[in-house]
């Protein structure tokens, strides 16, 4: 029997099925890796409390299920994961999924805006630089890109804080909203936007240079291709050449990078989130490592691997849309 489904749906289903073993392998791998690290939640908790007697520690371990062999722990964890139960965070005294969902919005907002800005501005600047290759404009753009690329994110963030918050007093130093503000409606949106300006700027300035440099070389390469010459011989002007013939083809490698970076930007946001004290996933990951909050950490990794899988899938769809030669199969 042949299923009369649209090819895109079949493709999506197949990708979904392929994603399951990937995520399971990632989870098993990280679980075992984390178990290899010395110390556990109880050690961290007891350390925080300033010490406790051996009996209390033993009881805690039994309560958290940490007295079992690693394989049993793993099996129990995977069993729960199969029902999308991410477990309980002993540090936050909340279900892990609640903790994650609280944080996910902030990180996604930060990631999506800064990457979109980096992508759009980078592509535009790269195209301009390539069209005026080896001119003053090109040199200025390329040098600036390189400077931002070479600047460590923490340094860039601190300098921005110093300038805009401390000296000029224009922007809030950190956090996602004014704590005692209790804004609602558009005031709240405006408040959050103000808080996000600096972290977004810091992240996008760093990522910008990737797109800029890739787009520049890609445009230069495509501009030399035969079909651009054909278009010129047809009497097309430079603007038309750029938008219809060069950009469309030059964008392909840049889109690949976009997909790759969207998956890794979570790691990059740890530093920025911590500096600007944004309650996002990066910051949560950092704290969970310190506090050996195994369940939260695993939850973050689970969430990240799902984001990676989804973003990869979306990139492939976008790629097939952009490049007519690629068929989804």
């Amino acid at each position: 029997m042949k299923l009369a489904l649209p090819p895109i749906l079949i493709y999506s289903l197949r990708r979904l099925v392929q994603a399951v073993p990937v995520v399971i392998l990632i989870m098993i791998g990280t679980f075992l890796l984390l178990k290899l690290a010395p110390g556990d939640t109880v050690d961290a908790l007891v350390g925080d409390m300033g010490g406790a007697d051996a009996q209390f520690i033993e009881r805690l371990r039994v309560e958290y299920g940490l007295d079992q062999p690693v394989w049993v722990q793993l099996w129990r964890y995977m069993e729960k994961l199969a029902t999308f139960d991410l477990g309980w965070s002993f540090v936050y005294e909340q279900p892990v999924s609640t903790v994650l969902m609280d944080r996910l919005g902030t990180t996604l907002l930060l990631m999506a805006t800064s990457l979109s800005i980096a992508f759009t501005v980078g592509v535009a600047l790269g195209a301009i630089a390539a069209r005026r290759a080896y001119s003053l404009t090109d040199n200025v753009i390329s040098t600036l890109g390189l400077i931002f690329y070479a600047t460590p994110s923490f340094f860039l963030s601190l300098m921005m804080m110093l300038l805009f918050s401390v000296k000029l007093g224009w922007l809030p130093v950190g956090g996602i909203k004014t704590i005692a503000g209790f804004y609602t409606g558009w005031d709240h949106v405006w408040d959050v936007a103000l808080h996000l300006i600096m972290p977004t700027a810091a992240l996008s300035l760093i990522y910008l240079s990737f797109y800029l440099r890739l787009m520049r070389s890609s445009v230069l390469q495509v501009a030399d291709l035969d079909f651009v010459r054909t278009a010129r011989a047809k009497g097309a002007g430079e603007t038309r050449l750029m938008f219809h013939h060069i950009m469309r083809n030059a964008l392909l490698p840049v889109v690949t990078l976009f997909g790759l970076q969207f998956s890794t930007v979570l790691g990059g946001s740890v530093v920025v989130e911590t500096i600007f004290t944004l309650p996002g996933l990066g910051q949560l990951a950092y704290q969970s490592v310190i506090q050996r909050d195994m369940n939260t950490l695993m939850g973050i990794i689970f969430l990240c691997s799902i984001i990676v899988v989804i973003v990869n899938f979306l990139t492939d769809l976008l790629y097939a849309r952009l490049d007519s030669r690629i068929e989804l199969a």
């Binding site: 493709y11 197949r14 099925v17 392929q18 291709l225 035969d226 079909f227 010459r229 054909t230 278009a231 010129r232 011989a233 047809k234 009497g235 097309a236 002007g237 219809h244 013939h245 469309r248 083809n249 952009l322 490049d323 007519s324 030669r325 989804l328 199969a329």
Partner: protein, 547 residues
């Protein structure tokens, strides 16, 4: 038609190259006239400046590095060189249009065929979308594309090479330009497609009365299509005149040499080789490029590249494998050298089945059968010196490095390169010289059989003649056997004793070259032979060892 006022008149055109080039002018003193309804062929080898002259007419030279330094180009009486950019945009694609060499790359891969034809119309024609669409489909009809409606919506990669070139032509001729510049429009095509495209250009040009400037390196094509011929060498015109005159009574020694290098269609007298021992024997070879993918991924259709192929190659014999692209001839060359694993069959080299060898046995067997590849640019490691490239094989097989290098120097002499070449890198050589290095590398192993996959296709005709001569010479001197894969029937005719004609992975005809050429049995062979450009023209033989 000779009384009409010319469409294009070029007087004393000079194109300057950037400083530090091998010569100051890419083109020095070009004079040329194209009249309505006339096809003017510009012939020359690579580097002769023929493509740049097209660029100058379109005002599309890579300025300011390369620019017009003197002379005049007048199009319908107007000075092209005095036009503004805006005026040139009006002329390009509208009054003067171009057809390019590579139909694969000359079309934007991301836009449909229809969009790309529509672009010309949008730029130069009044009229709404529906009118333009109608005109575009009419043009696709005129270039004889089957099912123009669906071709209109197809992307370039979805149609064949020949059809892509038809699309290019439709695009170029859609506004009935006065002048069409065709820059090697058939070089990348199979011979049967080439003939169709040449006929098409002829036909459309006669309907519209346009002048055509046809750039080519192939005298066969010239004989097929030209009214008037201009021969260029290193940017200078060495000879021009009516096609008949230049082709049959060339005056300048360079033209004579060029024409003499065009391989003759008359095959060599058959050698009595069948009594000699068989050195290479293929039996029942089969290769299918399997359907990829499995449980969780998509499936692709299986492609049968070679099905049930058998042949015998005697000592000292040259066996030609000819066919068009996709016929499986390259796969054959890979199978017999076991660079690709066959699905079934046997390859006996010197009585031992190469395909049944274990990996270690295979390594030993490799020295009996060596390859010469098509692209002399890509097949030599650019980071190694020539002497090491040649000596590498014997050293791998346990030869003393010093001896191997000494032998490599001897081999360079054998392929007529100076021993000084030994310590240089491949990029310092021309294409022909690189192919000689490739041959020396193959010879270093003292093989019994050499498999040559299109070894001269990337070379200019005069260089091609030299390399072919060298191969024939070495074969006779060293008693080598050659398996020679080529798409060029002229080359096959010149070198091969026996020939296999392949179509879609199967042998459609095999036999002694002279017999196959004189009396082809299979319709496909007949079609191939009758598509050879300039087959009615026999190059006058004057001075065979020039060039």
């Amino acid at each position: 038609m000779s009384d009409q006022s010319p469409i294009l008149e070029i007087r004393d055109l000079k194109i300057a190259l950037p400083e530090g080039s091998d010569r100051p002018f890419a083109l020095d003193g070009l004079n040329l006239t194209v009249k309505p309804g006339e096809i003017v062929c510009m012939v020359g080898e690579s580097g002769s400046g023929k493509s740049l002259s097209a660029g100058a007419i379109m005002r599309l030279l890579p300025e300011p590095h390369v620019h017009v330094a003197g002379g005049s180009i007048s199009f319908l009486g107007d000075d092209i060189l005095a036009k503004t950019d805006r005026e040139m945009k009006q002329i390009r694609g509208n009054r003067i249009s171009m057809i390019f060499q590579e139909p694969m790359t000359a079309l934007n891969p991301q836009k449909t065929v229809g969009w790309q034809i529509d672009e010309v119309l949008k730029l130069h024609m009044e009229g709404n979308r529906a009118a333009r669409r109608k005109h575009a489909i009419e043009m696709l009809n005129r270039v004889h594309i089957p099912d123009p409606e669906s071709a209109y919506n197809a992307y370039p990669h979805q149609i064949s090479g020949g059809q892509r070139q038809r699309v290019m032509i439709a695009m170029a001729l859609s506004l009935s330009p006065k002048l069409v510049i065709a820059d090697e429009p058939t070089t990348a095509l199979d011979v049967t497609t080439q003939l169709q495209i040449l006929k098409l250009i002829r036909e459309l040009q006669q309907e519209d009365g346009a002048g055509v400037l046809f750039i080519t390196h192939d005298f066969g094509v010239v004989a097929e299509i030209a009214d008037h011929v201009i021969v260029l060498r290193q940017g200078e015109v060495v000879e021009q005149g009516a096609a008949d005159q230049v082709l049959n009574h060339p005056q300048h020694p360079y033209t004579q040499a060029l024409i003499a290098s065009v391989p003759d269609l008359a095959p060599p007298p058959p050698k009595p080789v069948s009594t000699l021992p068989v050195v290479l024997k293929g039996t029942g070879l089969k290769k299918t490029f399997a359907a990829k993918g499995g449980l969780l991924s998509g499936k692709r259709k299986a492609v049968t590249a070679v099905k049930d192929l058998s042949f015998e190659l005697h000592q000292g014999e040259t066996l030609g494998v000819v066919g068009e692209s996709g016929s499986g001839k390259t796969t054959v060359s890979r199978l017999v050298t076991r660079l690709l694993e066959a699905d079934a069959g046997a390859v006996d080299v010197d009585g031992k089945d190469l395909l049944a060898c274990s990996p270690s046995e295979l390594r030993g067997m490799r020295k009996h059968i060596q390859m010469v590849f098509q692209d002399p640019m890509a097949s030599l490691n650019p980071r190694k010196r020539v002497v090491d490239l040649i000596a590498q094989g014997p050293i791998v097989h346990g030869e003393d490095p010093e001896k191997a290098r000494a032998r490599a120097r001897e081999l360079l002499e054998l392929v007529e390169l100076s021993p000084a070449a030994a310590n240089r890198f491949p990029h310092e050589f021309s294409g022909g010289q690189r192919q000689r290095i490739g041959i020396a590398r193959a010879l270093a192993m003292e093989p019994k059989v050499i498999v040559a996959d299109e070894p001269v296709s990337a070379l200019d005709v005069s260089v091609q003649a030299q390399v072919l001569k060298l191969l024939a010479d070495l074969r006779d001197r060293m008693n080598l056997s050659l398996l020679f894969v080529t798409h060029d029937l002229r080359v096959a005719a010149q070198l091969c004793d026996c020939i296999i004609v392949m179509q879609k992975g199967e042998i459609v005809e095999a036999g002694v070259t002279a017999e196959v050429f004189a009396d082809p049995k299979h319709p496909y062979t007949r079609n191939l032979l009758s598509s050879i450009p300039g087959r009615h023209w026999t190059p006058p033989v004057r001075n065979t060892d020039a060039a």
